[in-house]
């Protein structure tokens, strides 16, 4: 349990690590899925290719979509793509960066499935046994073409009566498996060479732009997460106030009814509880959430967040968003030089 917790904490340390962890998990699930799947070639002339190729390509598509779904950044990317411009300019470079990062991670599990299937060979043998050229194998010399086709269709099924213990079947099966493994290893080599070149050569192109895009993509992701947390906090606060308000009003209503019904002998009760605001906000310091206290206001806040995100400039005072465009020249605002001595 402790081991698990340490591993979990390590992967939680940054959002990139979280995504890498999910990617790895999906890869392990793929391997397990492949090894536990019971491959079952139909051994019929037209269905073999359909089954074999279907099994080679359909699970990867499903795994790719799972990889996209499991990755939070894909939703962040789509939101960033579709939001209105508002006060904050949209940078297509950031969207491209997010897109490539999401795609790379989502492609890992499908590629692992395809490589496993090719290195194992069963899919390939099933799909292409009917398309083997009988001339290559001497054992087919004295069979009619239709017999040959029937035989070839049954090659993937070792236990079938027609092909059991037949050296011809073994030869064809061996040949196809060998081809499948060669294709599998070549694909693995190609992918790894591409990955290596991409990793090595990236710093040679536009390193500064890459650093900027990486920073702002990370920022967009964090901002989304923090906004969700702030909204949760606000909703909790809102609910708390609502409930207390309800209790207070119920209490005052009952008192009012009690005072009307009873005689005046009761006298002044304990003083009315002070208005909810002080009790609720005493120690929390969430003053900026107070005024947003109705459904319409919350809806207005959320739709403003979507339709016009605030500009990326914290020195602009609130309400002056008309001039808070983020593409102005960087030397406009004095006192924001990147030096460590601004706040003394």
């Amino acid at each position: 349990m402790d081991k698990f917790r340490t591993l979990f904490q390590h992967f939680q340390s940054s959002s990139e690590s979280v995504m890498n962890g999910i990617c790895l998990l999906l890869a392990m699930v793929t391997v397990k899925l492949y090894s536990s799947f019971n491959f079952n070639c139909p051994c019929l002339a037209r269905y073999n290719a359909l089954y074999g190729l279907g099994l080679l390509f359909t699970p990867p598509i499903a795994l790719f979509l799972c990889g996209l779904l499991a990755n939070r950044q894909s939703m962040v990317m789509v939101e960033e793509w579709r939001r209105p411009g508002g006060h904050r300019r949209k940078d297509p470079g950031i969207i491209r960066y997010l897109c490539s990062s999401v795609l790379q991670r989502a492609l890992a599990a499908p590629l692992i499935w395809i490589l496993l299937a090719l290195l194992d060979g069963k899919c390939f043998v099933c799909a292409f046994s009917s398309s083997v050229d009988p001339e290559k194998f001497l054992d087919f010399a004295n069979m009619t073409p239709s017999q040959v086709q029937l035989f070839l269709a049954k090659v993937p099924c070792k236990e079938d009566e027609l092909v059991r213990n037949s050296p011809a079947r073994k030869a064809v099966s061996r040949y196809l498996r060998c081809l499948s493994q060669a294709i599998g290893w070549s694909l693995a080599l190609l992918l790894i060479v591409l990955a290596f070149l991409a990793r090595c050569l990236r710093p040679c192109f536009d390193q500064t732009i890459f650093l900027q895009r990486r920073y702002w993509s990370n920022y967009v992701d964090l901002e989304q997460k923090l906004f969700d947390e702030t909204c949760c906090e606000h909703a909790r606060d809102f609910a708390h106030r609502c409930v207390l308000h309800f209790f207070a009003s119920m209490q005052s209503e009952m008192r009012a009814r009690g005072l009307r019904r009873d005689s005046a002998g009761r006298g002044p009760e304990t003083p009315e509880r002070p208005e909810p605001p002080e009790g609720l906000d005493g120690g929390s310091g969430k003053a900026h959430l107070r005024a947003i206290s109705s459904q319409e206001q919350v809806d207005h806040l959320l739709s403003t967040w979507y339709s016009s995100k605030p500009p990326l400039d914290l020195t602009a005072s609130s309400g002056l968003w008309g001039c808070g465009l983020s593409h102005r020249a960087p030397t406009v605002v004095p006192g924001t030089r990147a030096s460590p001595h601004t706040d003394v």
Binding site: H10, R177, C178, I192, C200, R202, A291, L301, S326
Partner: protein, 344 residues
Amino acid sequence: MDKFRMIFQFLQSNQESFMNGICGIMALASAQMYSAFDFNCPCLPGYNAAYSAGILLAPPLVLFLLGLVMNNNVSMLAEEWKRPLGRRAKDPAVLRYMFCSMAQRALIAPVVWVAVTLLDGKCFLCAFCTTVPVSLLGNGSLVPGLPQPELARLLARVPCPEIYEGDWLLAREVAVRYLRCISQALGWSFVLLTTLLAFVVRSVRPCFTQAAFLKSKYWSHYIDIERKLFDETCTEHARAFAKVCIQQFFEAMNHDLELGHAHGALATGPTGSAAPAATEGADEEREKLRGITDQGTMNRLLTSWHECKPPLRLGQEEPLVGNGWAGGGPRPSRKEVATYFSKV
């Protein structure tokens, strides 16, 4: 569990120890992959050698490149190599050290694969079964009577027990034993050679340029740690930026609503007293921003991090936008003045 955590933390402490861990895992994975891989000799004259050579060489190449790709130092090396000089000189010895250390670690998994392949013997058997000396091991007298292609076809099936038909020429077991014996001898020689080489390199290196080696090792670790800390600082900054941005958004909304709804005790009154509480939390976040509060300044910071890395000299506050000269002159010495007051 404590032990596990300690090991985990130790391995994480810097990129080199992390890579040592990854190396060990990949070596084990390499051996596991070999045993899980179903070697499938085609048993056809032209294809045997190609298949075996492929299996002997392609996976080691894949493993080597994978070892390099998984090492973050690859992109660090490329970045360090391609960055503009700025105010920090580049030391080719550091780059060489990084490259050597990466390559050494990445070579372990391929060496394990080759060693395991040779010691197992199937690959060697498949490749060289057609070149077995029949005259030495079997019925050499029958050889001249056979045409060469027929002989090759017969011998090519030696690795496949179920389709081998040449027992009258050469007992299969004899050929298999012979080739496996040679393969294992080669395998052990390979293992001995690589360990000897590693030992010699390791023990002889301190005799040459130990001082320069220590220097390169230090600065290589420094660059790695600096990059990691920069990324962490950027993430922290992005988080603070997002928090302040969202707080300001809520405050602005709050402010707008308070202006809009001029009535209500909720909006007036406690606002003034609660405002300082809100800004306390905001101040803490603003400190983390270190004065960088808008997109343009952040972009400039990231650009100058790449194009003009700061000099490796602490304790001197030089403005970032300098004239590119790394050697700062000595500071003017401060004059100390002692003043006497005479009470005459």
